[in-house]
Every structure is written in C-alpha cells, then in structure tokens.
C-alpha cells in the first residue's frame, strides 16, 4: 500500500527538533488514555491478549500530551534511544505512516517493545509530564504499540531497506531479541546475515517464554518474516556448540554475534524438588507457548493442568507462569515470594494483572521442601515465613526465615521461577572465549569478546535481564561490527 505520506523523508539519525508548543495548558489537561482490556473474568479462560490497544483517536490524543521538551529525557531513558518526541509529533498530526517509519528507524520490533518493555522504569519514568504532583507520564509504550499494530493491520509494512551488498558475512548465534536486532541492523548495512537458532522456531524468549496473552506469537512471526524478506537467513535446529562450534563458524564468517541468552534454569535444591509435577518456569512456559500445550486439539505436547498450583518467584516470569496456570484451569494459584511486594522484580502492570485475576500472593514466604504421594507426584509445598533483615550487597533487605513458621500449601503442580543462568553451550565448547561466572565477558559496551571478530550481548553477557536491554546490546554490537567490517580495525 502506498499513501502520500510514505514520501515523508525520515531523517537518517538524530532527534526531531521542535519549538515549545503554544497550547501547553491544553496538553497538560489531556488525561492519559486508558487501553481497553479484557476483564479478568473473561481473560482467565482464554489465551488472548489482555490489553486490546489504543484506538486511532486515542493514540492521537495520547501523543498530544507530549509537551515537546527541548531536552527529551525519555530518549535518554530508552535503551535504544528512540526518537520518542519525533514519533509522537507525527502521531499527533495523524501521520501514522511517518511515525512508524521514524520509530522503526531506531527500533525494528516496536510491536514487541510496545508490549513487553518496562516503560514505567525507562522512558515514562523520566517523562516531564509525569513529574510533579498528580503528574502522569505520556503513555509512550501504548502509542508505540498502536503504531506497530496499525502498520500490520493496514498491510502497510514497508520492507526493510537494505544497503548495497558489502560481500561480508555475519553469523548470529541465537535467534532471540538480541540476535534478531543485531541481524536487522547488519542486514540494513548490507551485510549477509545468517541466524543460527537452536529451537525449531526463532524468537528465543519471545516465543518460548512470554505467553500468548502478553505477546501474540503471530507478531513475532511477522517480525521474523520481515527480516527474512530483507535477506536474513534463519537456520533453525542448529545449536552452536553442538551441531557446529563457534570456531567452525569463524572459518566461514567475517564476524559473529553470540546472543544465546540465559537458558539454564535454577532450582532451589531443596528436598522433593524432583517430584513429578514440579517444573522450571522455562519448561512449563515452553510446553504451553512454544509447543502449544494449551490447545491439545492441535498439539501433541502435554502439560499437567494443575488444580492447585504453586509458583515460586517474584519476577515477570513468575507472573507469566501463575497467569498461565489460571488459564489452564487451575482453581487456585499461590505465588510464593521470599521478599515483600516492594522488592518484587516484576513489572507493576504484570503484578496488577495477576492480582486482578485472582492469583494469591504469599509474600515473605519461602519454600523449604516439597511433599509427594506414593506415585512420586507433588502434593504440597512446605514454606517458611520470612522477615526482612539487614540490606545485602545489592541494597535489598535480606530475607531471614522465621523459626517455627512452617506451613503448607497443597499443590499438584509447582513452577520454579527463580531465574536462569547463562546458556553453557557456546562457552563450554569455545576454549578461547573468556567468561565471568559462566557469562561471556564483554570488553566494553560494544560487546567485543576475547576473540577477534566475535561479539556477545543480551542475557549471555548481562545475566537474566530484559528484552529491551538485549535489543540494546544487539544494536550496539551491530554498530561496532559494521565499523569493524568496513575498516578491519578490531
């Protein structure tokens, strides 16, 4: 589809400059637009998305709330420094096509980021509209999501513009958010890019971890399809470290990016943890999301649909697991977290959604053992109450068990969501690659590793973090790789 404003040129880089608007008062007066959403009663019976997205007039009204700061803090708050005021201005003017193109100049996965980025800790927390008493920041993430959805819904997705072929070949190890972002930028620069993915589908945590009701899989598939249209080759079923080693790839490629993620689930190593019915969050979510166990008519992979489910942890993954359990028909879901609500690493929105849906939060509570029946199936989790003691090295107050406070919650499924370690496949098979506590050691922000021509980024360097930080790392590495490929300077 071609519309007249497709011709609006998008500047190659830099922020859109604009003067202070004259209608500041009216802008301040405009209230933050609420996204229509499925009610908790509806949504706990389906796997469809919870927030339904802004309508076009809402998006324009929300964009109108931007006060065009001279030095936009939001841009600095964004890990990939999107020209936020720029795309808001265009949205406000109703030029959705221009807005999405500007947005995609800086972020190729806006439909994903508009949904899963913690905007409230990044761009929106520093938004000047949100400062001061009663200030509510511009809903940047919602507008971002609107633009991406608008583009897809209207069929106006523009093919990725790729530069003239440079003749250089790049391998991306791991098809998650870091790798896909890196691949996109390098393809735009004209390099030949091959993405090696270990699973049968690319997307990493976007497809195996984050549930359908938070990020529809069709969106990820569409984003990957766009990359393939731009000439990026995606090779599934190809774990580097097993099918071939990184050293093998070095003989064939001019540069390599490793974004293999945090794919080694931690367990608590408490008695009974290997009872049947106790899952890592990775396994539970992979069965349901990637393998489609929520729809047994279409998919063979089973999952135990617990009646009473216990989820251990307080992060986004724990929320995802708890809400998934509800949708699989659980009567009660206990979320067991050893610290208090303030320390919960999950996004506020996810915690709220989980509470609205009826997840029971057992805070300051920690599992000590699991109990099982004669078949070896889990039947209950025994917990102990905790109280917060002195702050630990990370500044968070350390939870300390309260003697004699043991109590049990019955459960026929338990999900352990206490984090992941770095995926060991590449470090284990690449002796020259320097590591730090299992993570790949990066020399600087660009992600350069100890091996010439090899970069790394995302959770394999940072430890389990967020999608957008991984994308930021992929982007920084891509810029550094492009420079190396052009100059040969390491």
């Amino acid at each position: 589809m071609s519309t007249p404003d497709d011709k609006t040129p998008v500047p190659a880089a830099g922020l859109t400059a604009a003067g202070t608007p004259k209608d500041l008062k009216a802008r301040y007066k405009t209230t933050r637009q609420t996204m229509p959403a499925q009610t908790p009663e509806q949504r706990i019976h389906n796997f469809q998305e919870v927030p339904l997205g802004l309508a076009a007039d809402q998006a324009k009204a929300e964009a109108y709330r931007c006060i065009w700061c001279k030095e936009p803090e939001c841009v600095k708050g964004c890990p990939v420094n999107i020209d936020i005021p720029g795309f808001l201005h265009l949205t406000e003017a109703g030029d959705f096509s221009g807005a999405i193109r500007l947005l995609k100049r800086d972020n190729l996965l806006p439909a994903v980021c508009g949904r899963v980025c913690p905007q409230e800790e990044q761009c929106e927390i520093v938004c000047k509209v949100g400062q001061g008493k009663n200030g509510v920041p511009v809903a940047i993430g919602r507008v971002e999501r609107f633009l991406a959805d608008w583009e897809r819904a209207t069929g106006s997705v523009q093919p990725l513009q790729v530069g003239p072929p440079t003749g250089r070949k790049v391998a991306i190890v791991g098809g998650g958010p870091a790798g896909l972002t890196c691949a996109a930028d390098l393809a735009r620069a004209g390099h030949k890019v091959v993405v090696y993915e270990a699973l049968h589908k690319p997307g990493g945590v976007l497809v195996y971890g984050i549930p359908e009701f938070r990020l529809p899989k069709a969106i990820v598939a569409a984003e990957v399809h766009e990359l393939e249209r731009a000439g990026v080759e995606v090779v599934n079923n190809y774990p580097i470290g097993l099918t071939r080693t990184l050293d093998d790839l070095l003989t064939e490629f001019d540069a390599i990016f490793v974004g293999t993620g945090a794919g080694l689930p931690y367990f608590m190593e408490i008695p009974g943890e290997n009872l049947a019915g106790i899952y890592s969050a990775n396994e539970y979510l992979t069965r349901v999301n990637l393998m489609g166990a929520f729809d047994p008519e279409k998919n063979d992979t089973p999952v135990i649909r617990g009646r009473n489910v216990a989820v251990v942890g307080g992060g986004n993954v724990a929320m995802d697991a708890a809400r998934t359990a509800l949708r699989l028909g659980a009567e009660s879901v206990q979320l067991v977290y050893r610290r208090s609500r303030t320390e919960m690493p999950a996004r506020k929105e996810e915690v709220e959604h989980a509470e609205e849906e009826g997840i029971h939060f057992q805070l300051l509570t920690n599992p000590v053992r699991y109990l099982g029946d004669e078949r070896g199936r889990v039947t209950a989790v025994e917990c102990i109450r905790m109280e917060l003691g002195e702050p630990g090295p990370d500044g968070r107050r350390k939870p300390v068990p309260v003697k004699g406070s043991e109590h049990q919650y019955p459960c026929d499924v338990a999900v352990v969501a206490i984090g992941n370690g770095p995926n060991p496949l590449v470090p284990r098979t690449t002796p020259a690659l320097e590591t730090k506590k299992g993570k790949i050691a990066a020399r600087d922000e660009s992600g350069k590793t100890s091996i010439k021509g090899v970069w790394a980024g995302g959770d394999i360097v940072l430890g389990a973090a967020t999608v957008i930080l991984a994308m930021g790392a992929g982007r920084k590495a891509a810029a550094s790789m492009d420079a190396y490929l052009k100059t040969g300077v390491w």
Binding site: A198, L199, H200, Y208, E233, V235, N236, N237, Y238, P239, L242, T243, R244, G263, L264, P265, F267, E269, E273, N274, L275, A276, G277, Y279, S280, N282, E283, T286, R287, M291, G292, P296, K298, N299, D300, T301, P302, I304, R375, G376, R377, N423, P424, L425
Partner: protein, 279 residues
C-alpha cells in the same frame, strides 16, 4: 542449507520397531557414540529424544531405531521414504567416554539395543574386547543381530521366555559373562529402566563400573527446560547436557521411573485419539 531431514530408508526390524535413515549431513558428520537427536515429526508434534543408532557421514544420514509407543512415534511410523521430518536437531548430549579398559560388556535390552550399537563399535575401536548381549522379553523384540555381531568380539542372545538364545534376564547374562570371562572391566547397559536398575544393582555388588544411558522426558534438549533432571549420587543432573550416560551405581532409577510416568494418562488418551483419527 542442506538440512532436509528427508527419510531415505525405512525398514521394520521387529513388530512396532522401525529403522529410519534420515538425511541430516551435519549431524552425521559431528555425532559420536552415545549422542542423540531430538525430532519433531510434524507441525504440532512433540519434540522427542531419539538415540543415534548409526551414522554415515559420506551419505549424510543418521540411523534412528524407534519403537512405536505413543502418538509421536506412531506419526513417525506412517512416514515413507521421501517424506520429511519437520525438525531434527543434534547431536545432543555428551558423547560416551571411550577408553581402553579391557573387556567391556555391551548389553542392549529391547529398544536399548539401538543405542548400545554405536557404543560397542567405539569401545572395540578403542581396543577393548567387546562382549555383546541382546536381551528382550521375547524374540520378536530383538533386532540388529548382524550389526551387533559385527560390532562385538562375541555376542550372546537372551530372552525372558527362552524363545531365542538363552533363557533368562539381562542380569543372568551378566552373571554368565562374569563366570565365563573371569572378570568384566566395564558394563554398558541400555534398556528399560528396570533392566538398567537391576543390572546396575548386580554390577555394584560385583564391583564392575557400569554405564547406563537414560531416556527421560525432554523438551528442548539443550539444557533450557530441566524437564529431564535426574538424581545421580544425590545431585540433580540434566540428562540432555550432563548425560545421557551416567554411572549406573549412582542413578536414582525409581525417581526416574516416576518422572517418566508423569504424562502416562495424557499420552494414552492422545495415542487412542490418534489411532481413532487415523483409522
């Protein structure tokens, strides 16, 4: 990239036991004894771990021997040469630690004969005297007689009911081998969990180091899900990356059995539905 996963040969070895030769050149080149692959037969299918029974790097094929036990393996049994598997990934797991130790007994129980075969070949290539045992409930469950005869210095056949070879269990075979050879320096036992459990119990008494290869429930096969965890020497291990082979004297086989049975009812229902639908 040349990764079609095309089925180039399909041969029934025994009732419900089928040999598949699949095009997977990179896996064929890389694999070593003891490793496995994960296969997804079709869209919507499970990811199932299958041990590599043999490989031909020149032809770019791997050989899988599969017993039809549920929906996924039944789907696989319907494939014909020229058809393709949706996905195949590997080689996964840690290769068998092969060294020259003297006399090695390689015991395959039922479908476990398939994974024992490449290990027998590797053990012999390393200079060991390899004594092979094929064991099963009934002669109908036996296969690879010729392949194992070629891979081993000597081979004996044992059936529970005496329908072929000597009458007795895998443990009887071990006792007989010890009696005949004076001593065994190592036992490799692969088969159903009870067989591995009782062989390991016996060889522990006899003081013979024993390797077993485990086949638990698995999803990704690269260490990501932890579904395949087993207790080995009271430590939790992931079979997909730490195994599939472990010291048989240290494995908690009862826990393994219980974990393997987790989806029993769902698998049965799914298999029945599949059989109804494909009739």
């Amino acid at each position: 990239m040349e990764m079609s996963f095309e089925l180039v040969e399909r041969r029934d070895l025994a009732p419900r036991v089928t040999l598949y030769r699949v095009r997977a050149p990179e896996v064929a080149r890389q694999r070593r004894a003891g490793q496995f692959v994960i296969v997804r037969v079709a869209e919507g299918g499970e990811r199932i771990p299958l041990t590599i029974a043999d490989a031909d790097p020149a032809a770019g094929t791997v050989t899988l021997v599969v017993q039809e036990v549920g929906t996924s393996t039944a789907r696989m049994a319907k494939l014909r040469p020229g058809d393709r598997l949706a996905d195949l990934v590997g080689p996964l797991g840690t290769a068998t630690h092969v060294e020259k130790v003297g006399t090695v007994a390689c015991i395959g129980g039922g479908i476990g004969i398939a994974p024992v075969h490449p290990i027998a070949q590797a053990m012999r290539a390393a200079g060991n005297k390899v004594v092979g045992v094929l064991a099963a409930r009934h002669r109908d469950l036996l296969f690879f007689r010729e392949e194992m005869r070629r891979a081993c210095d000597e081979l004996s056949v044992w059936t529970d009911d005496g329908s072929e070879g000597s009458k007795g269990l895998a443990t009887d075979a071990v006792r007989e081998l010890v009696a005949r050879h004076g001593k065994l320096d190592r036992v490799v036992a692969i088969g159903p969990v009870p067989m591995m459990k009782f062989v390991s119990r016996l060889t522990k008494e006899l003081g013979i180091p024993t390797l077993v290869s485990l086949n638990p429930v698995m999803v990704d096969g690269t260490g990501m899900c932890g579904g395949c965890r087993v207790s080995v020497g009271a430590k939790t291990k992931f079979v997909c990356v730490d195994g599939p082979e472990f010291d048989g004297h240290e494995v908690d086989f009862d826990e393994l059995s219980r974990r393997q049975a987790l989806y029993h009812e769902q698998e049965k229902a799914s298999y029945e539905r599949f059989q109804r639908e494909s009739r």
